[in-house]
Each structure stands twice: as C-alpha cells, then as structure tokens.
C-alpha cells in the first residue's frame, strides 16, 4: 500500500469526489490559485477550473452561507476554513442555518455540505490560532462532526462526508498534515459514526481522536516498556458517536483515560465520561479520568504552550492514576 501524507490523502479524496460528482465544488480562501493555505487543494484548480475550485474574499460568514444556500438546491459544496479559528465568524450560518434548515422546514431542505479545515494548536501560534473547538460543533443537533487521525481515515471519511446528505464538520489536525500512513490506491470509504481501535491492549482504555491519537500512542509505547498495556480507541466521528467499542474495551480493561486537546470545561470528554458511567459503571475499577488542554487561552511561549497541551507524559501520569500506581 502506498505511504502518503494526511494532506495528500485529503487531496485524493477531494479529487476523486470532484471527478465523481459534478455537483461537488470546493470553495474558500486561497483554495485555488494559491493551492490552499495548507496545500490540501494542490493542483485542483488546474484539473477542475475556476467554476469548481472557487477562491473567495475573506468573508467566512458570507461564503459559508453561500455554500449552504447552494446546498439547499442540491449542490454539494466543500467549504474550506483556512483554520477553524475563523469559523467563529461563520457560526451563525452553520448553527442557525445548516444545522436547522432541515428541521425547521419540516424535512424539505437537507444540506449536503462539508465544512473542513485544520483545527487545534500548531507551533506557537498563540491564542487566536490554536483552538480545538470540535466540542462546540458536536454540541449541535443537525451537525455531524468528524476528526480523523490518520491519512487512511482522513481519505475514507472525507469521501463519506462529501456523499453525506447532512452538514458535516470535518476537523483536520493542523499538525497532522505532514504525517504519513498507508492509503490503498483503490477506492474505499469509511462510514461516519464508526470508531476504530488504533492499538490493542488489556490494562487501560485510552479514548483519543485527531492529533491526540499520536499523543496516546506515544504514551502507550512508553507504558508498554513498563509492562502496562494500553488499548486506544479513536471514535473518529464525534457526532454520531460510536460508544460500543469504548464500552467493549472498558469491559476488558476496566479503566479509562480520555485524551482531548480542547478545554476541559463542558468539553466533549465530559460527555464521553458521562456515557461511560451510564453504561459501564459496573465495569469500572477506577473513576474515568480526562487529560485535556489547560483551561486557558493558548499562550505563545514555547514552554507554556507545552504545559497547556496534553502530552505523552500527562497521559502516562493519568494512566498510572487509574491503575493506582502513582
């Protein structure tokens, strides 16, 4: 199987779907001539032309709304947010518009749109450019939210998202674009709403998505050296959420650590912990623990940034805690 980057996997997904369906188009800032701020749309303008690869002014609310309007009449827009930080300007269109039009029209207008782009902290980009706000979107009925961690998942899930008839919020990991993984040359899709076991283990269940899967992996390797076996479950979709594999894993390990890049307060990890205690209370030998980003705007200073982010070391510490080995 070819080894390609996360960025190229997304590019392949876009290219294949643009070829497959003339209703699909890509729109956003710098997606065309510049080839994408993160080069996810490399060479697409060349192949598909300006009608389908559309550079926009800096107007997140406006072009997201234009995409939603176009989706009302059956087009399948892919809207690129240069980063999710800027989606805050488009939240009215996404939450008051895309998420609600089907419901408040009594089922008349489905909105087959994908809004995608990089999320989370990169390297010292500071408070306005380093936010993991997937839980904000996952909160909203009417939206689907996806956050792939590997090139394989990224490609398969993006293809599904584009074919989906509902609005899909697609979080890419800003620091995952260069990461490599095996992606088959032949066509495949990954269904939205199906979790994946990223590592088999027996002593503790780690729940992590997007970039945090890497962090959990590193922690697991370190712990393996000490004889502690971690199982890593990546929900991949944050809404709909696939609880069963997590519960099955906890039935085996009896312990759980949730690793989330976002803030702790009212974060997605809180919801997952709730779901676990509702359904797997009797399987737990220790309280569920969360490792999250610090409850602060992201600082610029390198040392503080590291302190504000979940790290393999903080995951290792949490695992020791649920194993009562600290």
């Amino acid at each position: 199987m070819p080894l390609i980057t996360y960025r190229d996997a997304l590019n392949q997904a876009l290219r294949e779907e643009l070829r497959r369906d003339p209703n699909v188009f890509l729109m956003g800032e710098e997606v065309g001539v510049y080839q994408g701020a993160y080069k996810v749309s490399k060479d697409l303008l060349q192949e598909f032309g300006e009608r389908r690869i559309i550079d926009t002014p800096i107007t997140e609310e406006g072009f997201t709304g234009v995409g939603i309007g176009a989706a009302m009449v059956g087009l399948r827009p892919v809207i690129e947010m240069m980063t999710w930080n800027f989606s805050l300007l488009a939240m009215d269109q996404i939450i008051n518009g895309a998420a609600k039009l089907l419901y408040m029209s009594g089922g008349q207008f489905s909105i087959p749109i994908v809004v995608r782009g990089p999320g989370g902290a990169a390297h010292q980009l500071a408070a306005q450019h380093s936010q993991s706000i997937e839980s904000w979107y996952a909160h909203v009925p009417g939206l689907k939210v996806v956050a792939p961690s590997t090139p394989y998942d990224a490609k398969g899930l993006l293809k599904s998202a584009i074919r989906d008839n509902d609005p899909v919020i697609f979080f890419e990991g800003e620091t995952l674009y260069g990461s490599k993984g095996e992606v088959p040359a032949e066509e495949y899709t990954i269904p939205i709403g199906v979790a994946d076991i990223k590592r088999q283990g027996t002593d503790v269940t780690l729940v992590a998505w997007s970039k945090m899967v890497m962090v959990a992996m590193k922690a697991a390797e370190q712990l393996a050296a000490e004889g502690i076996s971690c199982e890593i479950v990546d929900p991949r979709s944050l809404r709909p959420f696939d609880n069963a594999p997590i519960l099955a894993s906890i039935a085996k390990t009896n312990r759980c650590v949730i690793v989330e890049e976002g803030w702790p307060y009212a974060g997605l990890g809180a919801q997952i912990a709730y779901q676990i205690q509702q359904s797997a209370f009797d399987d737990l030998d220790a309280p569920v623990t969360r490792v999250t980003g610090a409850d602060v705007p992201m600082p610029y200073a390198r040392n503080l940034e590291h302190l504000a982010m979940p790290s393999p070391a903080s995951v290792v510490a949490a695992v020791r805690e649920v194993l009562y080995r600290s």
Binding site: F25, R51, T56, P57, T59, E61, G62, F63, T64, G65, V66, G67, I68, G69, A70, A71, M72, V73, G74, L75, D92, Q93, N96, G97, L101, L102, Y103, M104, S105, G106, G107, Q108, F109, S110, P112, P141, G142, K144, D164, N165, D166, G193, P240
Partner: protein, 346 residues
C-alpha cells in the same frame, strides 16, 4: 447607478399589464391583509404562539415584486413572511396551520410564523436571524449560475439588516461573481424601535450598492405598480446580464414590530402612524384601477369577500389539522437517520 422610479410607471404598467394580472394583484393584497388581520385575532386567542410579525401596510412590496417572477424562481424572506409566502403560492390553509403549529403546516409545525418554507413554490424560507438569510439567497443564486439556469432569486429583508456584515459580504460576492440575485430592502424606517436615522450612517439604503458597483434603485414601496415596474426591470436585467440589483422599497408598517408591541410605542408617534395610514397601498391601488375603469366598488367588495372566505377556510383547515405527534420531535434533524433521529413521512 441609483435611479428612482417616476410616476410614468403607472400608465406604463396599466397599459402593458394584462387586466387579469392587475386585478389579481389587488386580490392578493387584499388576501394578505385579511389573512394578517385574522392572524392578529388568532394571536390574541393564543392559537398562534411565539413571535408574530405582521406585514400590514407593506403588501405592495411583496405583491408587486412577486408578480414579476416565474413560478420556479426562488425567494427568501425574513420573519415577516406570511404575505410573501401566500403570494408566492403557498396554500393559505397550510400557512395558517403552520402558525397554529400543526402537522399540515408548510413546515410541518416545526417552523412557525418566522420559518415558513415551501420548496414546491420556491419559498426558501422565512429566516429569523436578521440578515442571516442574505448569504443563503446568494448561494441559491450561485447555484443557478453553477447549473447554468436562468432562475432568479429574490431576497427580502428590512432596512436594519443592511448594517449586518452578512449583507455586505453577500453583495460583494454577488457583484464580483455576477450572481442572479435581487436584494429587496423593505425600508419601513424602523428596526423594532430603532429608526433608520438612529441606526444607519446614511439614510439612502440604495446608495450602499455603489460600494459594490451594483445596480440599484429606490422605489415607492406603497405603490404596487411602481414596485412591479422596478423589480420587473431588475429581473430582466439579472436574467439577461446576470447583474445583481439592490432595490430599496420605501414603505411603512402600520402595526407594531410584532404582536407583542403596541402600534406605535415610544419610538414613533400615533400621529405619524395615522398619517401614514392615509397612504394605504391597497386603497391607493384600488383608486387607480377604479379611475382606469378596470374595476368598480362592487368588484372590490367581491374580491374582498373572496379573500375573507379564503381566510375562513384557512382557519378551519388549521383547526382541523392535528398537532405533530411526539414521534415527530426527533424527525428531520438529519437527512440520514441514526439513533433516535428519523425522517418524517412525506
């Protein structure tokens, strides 16, 4: 580029518009008026809940503008949407059922007064976030261009919405990309209780189009023939040249901002409202048709009787329609069902 419609539109329209259309416009204005008077009654009886924004006084704008469209053209409007819906072709009974929150409502009782949708007649919704629907309308126009159809999209909103970012973002893209969209500002002078003078740095709404090198026109929104004339030209222009247009229709609302407000409140005087009521668009239009010998007093009474009967039938239909079932709570959150979410039956 701003132009203002001059009085010769009257003879022009009276001369070139088929009599049936002219009379139909009067009938629709009357129906809109009677429908909304009944809404006020039903609101007082609590058959209609939530916010309910009446359009009384502004009928000439919706009727004149929509008389220029093909049935397959699309419209978007704000929460003040009952009359646009009926004039675009929604069944009045289904509109009333929606206001009653019943299952046979145009939006199956899920939308209510502010969210009337009827895909079949090209009604792309009443929208309740001020200015939030302007990008959506621009998007439908974008799709017309993408799909190479000559379908036109009309987007109605109040003058207060022109201070919203979404308005400017949309006009910029529509002008830049030559989208077949016509933006109709119903300038009734007040956004809730804030007069345009207190909210806008410039009074002339149409002038804002110059920032985008977009065609614009100001029209007397109390004059249905002027609106028809003006919007008709814009529709032709947008179909042939893909040039979007901003139209400012100067009008007045005779009622409070919503049913929960008094007619004038602290922000305008009773005298002002009474004076404006002398310009009632329905009376003025009837006067012209009468002078042109196209209708007489009896003809008017006959049209009015029909309007009242239609409204009575609408009420009976709404009353007879069942409430949505508890099962409908989780219907139509997603197009593709999962978990508790399902699709509604057609």
């Amino acid at each position: 580029m701003a132009a203002t419609t001059t009085p010769d539109h009257i003879s022009r329209q009276l001369g070139s518009t088929p009599k049936a259309t002219l009379l139909d416009m009067l009938a629709k204005m009357l129906l809109g008026r009677r429908f909304e008077e009944k809404c006020a009654e039903m609101y007082a009886l609590q058959n209609i809940g939530g916010f309910c924004h009446l359009y009384i006084g502004q009928e000439a704008v919706a009727v004149g503008a929509l008389s220029t469209l093909r049935p397959d053209d699309a419209i978007f409007t704000s929460y003040r949407d009952h009359v646009h819906a009926i004039v675009k072709g929604c069944d009045p009974g289904r509109v009333m059922a929606e206001l009653f929150g019943r299952r046979d409502g145009v939006s199956k009782g899920k939308g209510g007064s502010m969210h009337l949708f009827d895909r079949q007649v090209g009604l792309y919704g009443g929208h309740a976030i001020v200015g939030g629907h302007i990008p959506l309308a621009t998007g439908v126009a974008f799709a017309s261009k993408y799909q190479q159809t000559d379908r036109v999209t009309l987007c109605f909103f109040g003058e207060a919405a022109v201070n919203i970012g979404a308005f400017h973002e949309s006009l910029n893209m529509a002008a830049l990309w030559k989208l077949p969209c016509i933006y109709i500002v119903e300038n009734n002078r007040y956004g809730m209780g804030t007069s345009i003078e207190r909210a806008s740095a410039i009074y002339d709404v149409a002038a804002r189009a110059s920032a985008y090198d977009m065609a614009s026109e100001t029209v007397d929104g109390m004059d249905v023939l002027a609106v028809r004339d003006c919007v008709g030209r814009a529709v032709e222009r947008v179909r042939s040249e893909h040039a979007p247009t901003l139209i400012e229709a100067r009008c007045y609302r005779f009622m409070g901002h919503s049913m929960s407000d008094p007619v004038h409140g602290h922000y305008r005087t009773k005298e002002e409202v009474e004076e404006q009521k002398l310009q009632d668009p329905i009376k003025a239009y009837f006067g012209r048709l009468l002078a042109a010998g196209l209708i007489d007093q009896n003809g008017l009474l006959e049209l009015d009787r029909e309007a009242r009967e239609t409204v009575e039938r609408a009420i009976r239909f709404a009353e007879a329609s069942p409430e949505p079932s508890a099962d409908d709570l989780y219907a139509d959150v997603y197009a593709e069902p999962y978990g508790p979410f399902r699709k509604s039956e057609a």
